[in-house]
Amino acid sequence: MSIIKRISNRLIDILLSIWEFIKKLWRHPKGRVGLIMVLFLAFLAVFAPLIAPYDPYDVTQRAAKGLSPSWNHLLGTTITTGQDIFSMLIYGTRVSLLVGLVTGIAIAFLGAILGIIAGYVGGLADNTIMRIVDVMLVIPTLPLTIVITNLFGKSYFIIVLIFVVFGWTGLARVVRSLVLVLKNSNYVKASELAGGSRWHIMTKHILPGVSHLLIMNTALTCAGIMVAEAGLSFLGLGDPTAISWGKMLADAQSGGALLFGHWWWIMAPGIGIFIAVFSFMRIGLVMEEILNPRMKASSGIYKLFKTLNNTYIQEVFAKMDEGNEDLPKGEAL
């Protein structure tokens, strides 16, 4: 099969497995909540111009500075520029989600590919990749980010790039350990015996085997990245023209929100970050429960026991006595 066909087949498999997860998530009550929240945030991000009452980027739509929340401005306006905070909150979803998802997915790709190659192919490839991982883990990312943004300008592109370049290492390690276990499965051996090429085994057996782990890890990574991005924006390393929750916090602090008691200016981005991170973590944790059936059982069983009908249980026990009447001595024969 040609390379293009191979890759497109693989992408289709990946999309199908993602659809599987969405279905599984939906069935799980907690997962459903997380899924709905994420979809809600995505909706906000995509349709921000239609939902937000004002366009915070539009200089002509500024109002009076430092307004308290009112019907006109649900969360008031900023002290420094008079932008509507509620609209900023909504537009902020774009940056957070974009940075979070793009980084998360890029890390998933890199981490998965390199982890699988390191684990399955082994040998020189494994050694090289793992040494790179070791080196990268040692380099402190924050000072590096500061240096690079100073050199190349502050932008989210740079931030995402640094996150991705340094973030794949953790995932690759974890994936590699799982791959080492899967490699020894008998069905992989059987496939090798039948003449399966490395590509075949890695895509058909190993990749699906780590897919649960990938998705769970990606959800949790996205959550973490969003917090990290907020932090970096707070420090001023992000794009100064974009609207991000972290930057809102920075502005709120420097603009004297605390001083003037404009708690809504601080709370708004704070709640935004919280909701975004919470929803992704919820998905990640639910995935972990699904992955690990033992965890699921313990929470489900308590619920099940609460709803058990006692008379039914007694009936079940009583039915077991059928045929257990007092043991007659030899008469039944």
Binding site: S185, N186, Y187, K189, A190, A194, G195, G196
Partner: protein, 341 residues
Amino acid sequence: MSDNLPIVKIENLSVNFPAKGGLPFAKKKYIQAVTDVSLEIHKGETFGIVGESGCGKSTLANAMIGMVRPSLGKVTFKDKDLFSLKRIEFKEVRRDMQMIFQDPFSSLNPRFSVYQIISEPMYIRGGFTKKEMENRVLELLKLVGLDEKDLYRYPSDFSGGQKQRIGIARAISLNPDLLICDEPVSALDVSVHAQILNLLIDLQEKLNLTYVFISHNLAVVKNVCDRILVMYLGKVMESGSTKTIYKNPLHPYTNALLSAILDLDIKREKTILKGDIPSPIDPPKGCRFWQRCPYAMRGCKDIEAPLIEVEPNHFVACHKISGFTEEQIAQELDRVLVHHV
């Protein structure tokens, strides 16, 4: 039934693995998993390899199918030296030998449907249309005693015995010549052993297969195998035709295995071994069984016992059985020591 053509020929096979751990500058230690094993398997026969954990039977089987490269020696399959073939021919030749694994639970990919599992070898080989593959899988399901409606179900729906049948169907899908059964029933319920073993016996007749049957259960091996090899710590202790060995087991280890069977009706003199199975790292230079052998003589730990044909089709590697006395061994020991100095 068997032509005199050996389908598999193993000559002086040794497989050593470097032992992990140990200090960086210490002398490298090796696990001698298989040492100097030679055997021939004839077409259509069932060849048994018997021994306990650490004896090297799995490594031997893995070397036979090309899963692990030998450190010394040669593996010949259908007149071709397996490890000197080019990659493509190697894969091609290897398709004619397949394996059934011990643990039915890990031998099937839980994400694959039964159809996908059984058709995978055909899919890999290529050249089959979807219709052809489906028909063949249905045919195989029938052969192993499973139902048509199982085609798109998943392994978790099946019992251990049924999983094993799926594994068997997969193994025979490309009509192999050689089938290696690595403890095929050890992980199954006792009442299911007979079913699977009978299935294997039937399939051998129908499809003219050659089996290598690995087990630690001598009672099962007796009924299924034509010739057997008894291994201990990587070396062959006794080999020959099943009938002769069971009628007249000679090696002390073979006797211990037979005693351990806890058989229900034969009152055999029990040999209960003392001590544990030693580690295969840097095994003793002499007979590897000497530490647990109830008949060990003074030279046994220094001089290896060669495999000697004590009666037609019956080989034993034991000084005492071969008739050596302690003096003869001591002489041999002196000779060897002088030679090395």
